[in-house]
């Protein structure tokens, strides 16, 4: 079940590699690489979140806050203190890690809905800070003038170039996570999800693992935040509000909670739905979005990543 096969991974990588070329040939989708940059940013967050939710069984409704911490640390340090963008990215991830440990250690003792509320509250509080500390963050209006990224003097100043940066990072994180799941650590996480009592009896330090995974997912979210900030050259608090946290959960649910593939598929689908496809429905957009989500929940409780297996099972019958 958990053996993650190499063939789909290679196919996925190839697809990602040639996608901009394909898109450039088709006028109607020529802007899709631009969308894919955001999908990649979301995917970075959902990979971590899927590890936390699908494998360690812990919910978080506050990950938009870590996304924001990464973005704001990058934004503030580069624009106001002239810090190198890559260093700022690292510091953003570090800041997120520190906050994650501080909030995760007490929160992850909570169960179920209580944990959901605690992370939700945390997310809202951080968002209020982004909004109120206008000296640093620019307040609700947002923050302008965040520079783009350069690699050895080569500017990543177009969707095409940034696309490869973001998806390169996604690929690396994906590989890392796949390794992790198939390692003793991954087994321990799944064990915790299956039975905390039995895991503890096997000597697995549950609290520590939960905090580690929470922190890892926070770091990934912060990294995504930095990438977002340098691509948009602009950030505002509304991007990192609790509705984005809920949107992340929707991505995970649509893609499939128990699969890292699901995290990526969910991120791409939701990015395209909400940023592009649903626009065609105009005022019915919100209703259609809800209906899609509801239908997937009803008919594909395992998410879209579970669909091919389900389809094959039905065909065999």
């Amino acid at each position: 079940m958990l053996r993650i096969r190499k063939a789909p991974m290679l196919a996925g990588a190839l697809l990602i590699l040639v996608f901009p070329w394909i898109a450039s040939r088709v006028p109607a989708i020529s802007h899709y690489p631009d969308l894919m940059v955001f999908a990649g940013v979301y995917a970075l967050i959902t990979i971590g979140l899927s590890l936390l939710m699908g494998y360690a069984g812990q919910i978080s409704l506050g990950h938009a806050a870590f996304f924001g911490i990464g973005a704001y640390v990058s934004g503030v340090l580069t624009t106001q203190y002239g810090v190198n963008a890559w260093l700022a990215m690292l510091l953003g991830a570090l800041a997120a890690a520190v906050v994650a440990v501080a909030i995760g250690a007490p929160s992850l003792k909570l169960r179920g809905h209580y944990l959901a509320m605690a992370t939700l509250a945390f997310g809202i509080i951080i968002n209020i800070v982004f909004r109120e500390e206008a000296r640093w963050t620019g307040g609700p209006d947002g923050m302008v003038g965040i520079s783009g990224l350069t690699v050895f003097g080569y500017a990543l100043d177009s969707a095409g170039k940034y696309y490869y940066l973001v998806w390169g990072i996604v690929a690396a994180v994906f590989l890392f996570t796949v390794n992790l799941i198939q390692s003793p650590t991954g087994r321990a996480l799944r064990a915790i999800h299956a039975s905390e009592a039995a895991s503890a009896a096997m000597g697995i330090p549950i609290a520590r693992y939960k905090v580690i995974v929470f922190t890892f997912s926070a770091v990934l979210a912060a990294l995504a935040g930095s990438l977002y900030a340098h691509y948009m050259n602009f950030i505002n608090p509304a991007t990192f509000d609790l509705f984005f946290s809920i949107k992340l959960i929707i991505m995970i649910a649509l893609g499939g909670m128990h699969s890292i593939w699901g995290a990526i598929i969910g991120a791409i689908i939701v990015a395209f739905l909400s940023l592009e496809w649903l626009h065609y429905f105009e005022e019915f957009e919100i209703v259609v979005y809800g209906a899609v989500l509801l239908l997937v929940t009803i008919f594909l409780p395992e998410g879209l990543s579970g669909a091919p297996a389900k389809l094959m099972a039905r065909m065999r019958r």
Binding site: H113, Y114, A121, E132, I249, I250, I286, Y289, G290, P301
Partner: protein, 300 residues
Amino acid sequence: METFPFLNQLLQFLVTGLTVGAIYAMVAIGFNIIYNVTEIINLAQGEFVMLGGLVMVSVHTSLGLPLLLAFPVTVLVVTLVGVLLDRLAIRPIRKPSVMTLIIATVAASIIIKGLAMIIWGKSPYDLPAFSGRTPIDIGGVIIQPQYLWVIGFLVAVAVGLTLFFNRTILGKAMGACADNPDAARLVGINVRHMVLLSFALSAAIGAVAGLTLTPIALMDYDRGAMLAIKGFGAAILGGLGSFPGAILGGLILGLIESLSAGMLASGYKDAYALIILLAVLFIRPSGILGNLEVTRFKRF
């Protein structure tokens, strides 16, 4: 200009806080009714409140039904939406895990919000206050008549539910489902009906909260989510599943918001309320009146 003593200010904060808190408490009660029977947090709870306000606007202001008639009609309509929510979004899920059920309620809340936008548009609506808008002045503390209605309805809902759960067979059956669905099934209670009933009941309470709130704060299609979150916070603060907890949690949340808005930096008022909520959870992981042993047995 006349002076305005601090004590008066404080009392004013309390009055305001209790009123807002009463709304949160009603939303929290709605959460608890469904949670107790199904273990689901129904994130569409706030949409019931929004619908309560907007449907009332339609039947009272637009159709011109008198208040006394518009009230039951509104509650009935929203209750129907609650029933539909259960039938169309919750029951069709074949392998229900708590997480998928919650996602389903999120989806439902998005749909309801979208439909409300199409039906009522994006502008806010007003309702006439139930007994006029002349403020009552008690020793310098101002009370809007509508405040009394809000608090009155909270009391009515609390008393009504207490009687329902303790005195009626249906209520007792629902209570049994909440304690142990398997055992309830064994003694012949139709758990599905109870789930349906819980959605209907909590939609009705949401509607009451919405139609009493609208004369104070107006109503528009986009209000539901924020009210749901405040109500969820209240339910958690008080202890999930506990009705006295919901009322306590709601009132405390309202009071903190009002007091911190009045006495501290008002931009951070929501943050203060949430920080206190977090602090309570870290000390009492199952809320003020929640039972840790019970939460352990709940699936999620």
